[in-house]
């Protein structure tokens, strides 16, 4: 597969602020890449650099085999959904949607048809003649979204395009976007804070922190083998629990720093007394069955989301786990928790890098 977008050694400064640090990323043609990371990590900046709205301070940006560092945005043939929408306030929804088509010289009737189609997908059909200031937040976001998908560009850049939509609409839009992406064979870069979105839509997930790419790979790979504590904690909701521990003298077990002195057998080659962090995802923690080994913890909070229940323990560090039924646990009650050693992730306490077999 050819590489559609290729970034090598890209840096970007805002004045003195180093917003992108040595970014290397290659996105194959037709891929759907999700870009995730904490707020302010540089996702929008990266997207804007791809679009040509920010000039990158150093490094190379190659799109479809051509170096694009200085190419004006319109020649890059990308469609972008802006995080802040950037709707044209002096145009109606319909005009906003068809703007790019009109520039290209598409006929009026044809543009109108395209607008109607897209509006049907995004549920804006009744609003085509409104001005942006007469729309609700979610409606504006849908206009921004529609404006991008009405085009058939080389690549789509989405900057949190669904953040203001309700769950049902979001599920619907997710499907539509992915379908469109597949139909056009376009390349998409998709910034999102929604774990489910990232995991279900993307072929490839890129995790950033403070302008650096921390890890990238297929969604489940990141989920199952996070390269470091940050990635492990960032992917998955509720987040992974981290428990400090220490390798035993014999180097074959980890003693967890938790009441009840739980220990885990490990399969790693670690020196004795090495300090580690043990990560365990909430869904892998369960209440021990009668007589099973485990550690006894008091309960600090029980939250019902409807389908599942999040339970938080009153320990240091606190442990969160998920129950798939309505539970009758009470705050203050002490329960015994356990988890399977094969579900555990081990990180170096100092470097916070994953410890494990080479892969």
């Amino acid at each position: 597969m050819t590489q559609q977008i290729e970034l090598s050694g890209v840096n970007k400064y805002y004045g003195a602020y180093h917003a992108l640090r040595d970014i290397n990323l290659s996105i194959p043609k037709g891929a759907f890449v999700a870009l995730v990371g904490p707020s302010g990590c540089g996702k929008s900046t990266l997207l804007r650099s791809l679009a040509g709205l920010e000039t990158i301070s150093s490094g190379d940006l190659v799109i479809a085999g051509e170096r694009m560092n200085d190419m004006p945005p319109r020649k890059r043939d990308l469609a972008m959904v802006f995080q802040s929408y950037a709707l044209y306030p002096h145009m109606t929804v319909e005009q906003n949607l068809t703007y790019s088509l009109r520039i290209k010289g598409v006929k009026k009737a044809e543009a109108k048809k395209a607008a109607d189609e897209v509006a049907a997908i995004t549920g804006l059909s009744d609003l085509l003649h409104r001005y942006p200031r007469e729309l609700s937040g979610g409606q504006r976001q849908r206009v921004a979204m529609s404006r991008a998908i009405i085009r058939h560009p080389k690549a789509f850049l989405f900057d949190e395009p669904l953040s203001n939509l309700d769950a049902a609409l979001r599920v619907h839009m997710r499907k539509e976007i992915r379908a469109l992406h597949d139909r056009l064979g376009a390349t998409s870069v998709y910034v999102t804070h929604d774990q489910v979105e990232a995991m279900t839509m993307a072929d490839h997930v890129v995790i950033m922190r403070s302008g650096v790419i921390e890890q990238q790979g297929r969604p489940l790979d990141l989920y199952d083998r996070p390269a470091n504590r940050f990635v492990a904690g960032f992917i998955g909701s509720p987040a992974m629990n981290f428990i400090p521990g220490k390798v035993t003298r014999n180097g074959r077990e980890i003693v967890l720093d938790l009441p009840g002195s739980h220990s885990l057998a490990i399969d790693l080659d670690l020196p004795p007394d090495h300090a580690v962090l043990v990560g365990i995802r909430p869904e892998h923690v369960r209440i021990a069955t009668q007589g099973e080994r485990g550690f006894d913890v008091p309960i600090a909070a029980v939250e019902f989301t409807g389908a599942s229940t999040f339970v938080t323990t009153d320990t240091m560090p606190e442990i969160v786990f998920v129950l798939n039924e309505r539970s009758s646990l009470k705050i203050g009650e002490t329960i015994r928790l356990t988890f399977a050693p094969e579900n555990v992730h081990v990180f170096d306490a100092k470097t916070e890098q994953r410890l494990g077999l080479k892969d």
Partner: protein, 275 residues
């Protein structure tokens, strides 16, 4: 207080303020209808004893006003066109960036405006003579007015461009527009209020321009109305009613047009239209 009561009160206050402010205009109107030295009556008479409507027809005919007004219009449109074409783009660039060159540019623009027309006219006259521009006197005046008023336009229009979010232009670029296209389709319409108001102000200024026209346009048939007005306004004039009639015919149409236009400009498409 209810909404309507408040509105009525505001309207009343506005009318009083307008009455005070418009007094000179009113005075122009009544004087044009007065006769002889009723002007100097003491105490002043606020209403003409017998309105002399024929003054208007007389002045229109005898001063050949249609020709004067035509020349004024040509000069005003020419100047506004030139200024708008050159000034808008420049103002846009000066609003778009924030660096030391912009500072220098703004500084120069203001500095270039320092001299009053009465002092500028000599060097410009000398220069235009040398390049032969005085053979096209109206064009010469248009150029001179443009140079005089463009900084004014730029500074004002720049301020309106500052209110247009950069992001909208970016969106247009990503939508496949060139810089030129984004400028015309997005930035310009959004800054339209300020540009139009500034252009109208320029138009009015050019419509009344006097110093350059007086010196550079020697052929009566090409002179604008301001020079025509001046030509019967020497130090020893007693035709104040005629002069005011002239001025009335000169001013009223533009004022009317402006009132209509600005209504749409300043109150239309605003109130948080951006973002």
């Amino acid at each position: 207080m209810s909404e309507t009561a408040r509105n009525r009160l505001m309207l009343a206050i506005a009318l009083i303020m307008a009455a005070i402010y418009l007094f000179p205009l009113y005075w122009m109107y009544v004087t044009s209808l007065k006769s002889g030295s009723e002007m100097f009556a003491n105490p002043p008479s606020f209403w003409p004893s017998s309105a002399q409507w024929q003054t208007f027809a007389f002045v229109w005919e005898s001063r050949n006003m249609s020709r004067y007004l035509w020349n004024s219009t040509v000069i005003a449109f020419g100047s506004v066109a030139l200024i708008a074409v050159l000034g808008t783009g420049c103002a846009y660039v000066l609003a778009r960036y924030r660096n030391v060159w912009v500072d220098v540019g703004l500084f120069l623009i203001l500095m270039l405006q320092v001299l009053p027309a009465s002092l500028m006219v000599t060097p410009i006259f000398v220069g235009f003579t040398q390049v032969g521009l005085l053979d096209y006197p109206r064009l010469a005046v248009i150029l001179a007015i443009a140079a005089k008023s463009m900084p004014f336009f730029m500074v004002l229009v720049r301020a309106t461009f500052m209110a247009v979010p950069m992001e909208l232009e970016e969106a247009a670029l990503v939508d496949g527009n060139s810089r030129v296209g984004a400028f015309f389709n997005i930035v310009l319409p959004l800054a339209r209020n300020g540009i139009l108001v500034s252009a109208i102000l320029i138009f009015m200024q050019a419509f009344g321009e006097f110093v350059y026209s007086k010196s550079m346009i020697q052929d009566v048939s090409l002179q604008p109305a301001s020079v025509g007005l001046n030509s019967f306004m020497g130090p020893n004039t007693s035709e104040w009613n005629n002069i005011m009639a002239y001025a009335t015919m000169y001013v009223t149409p533009i004022l009317a047009i402006f009132v209509l236009l600005q209504r749409r400009i300043v109150s239309g498409l605003t109130s948080g239209a951006l973002k």
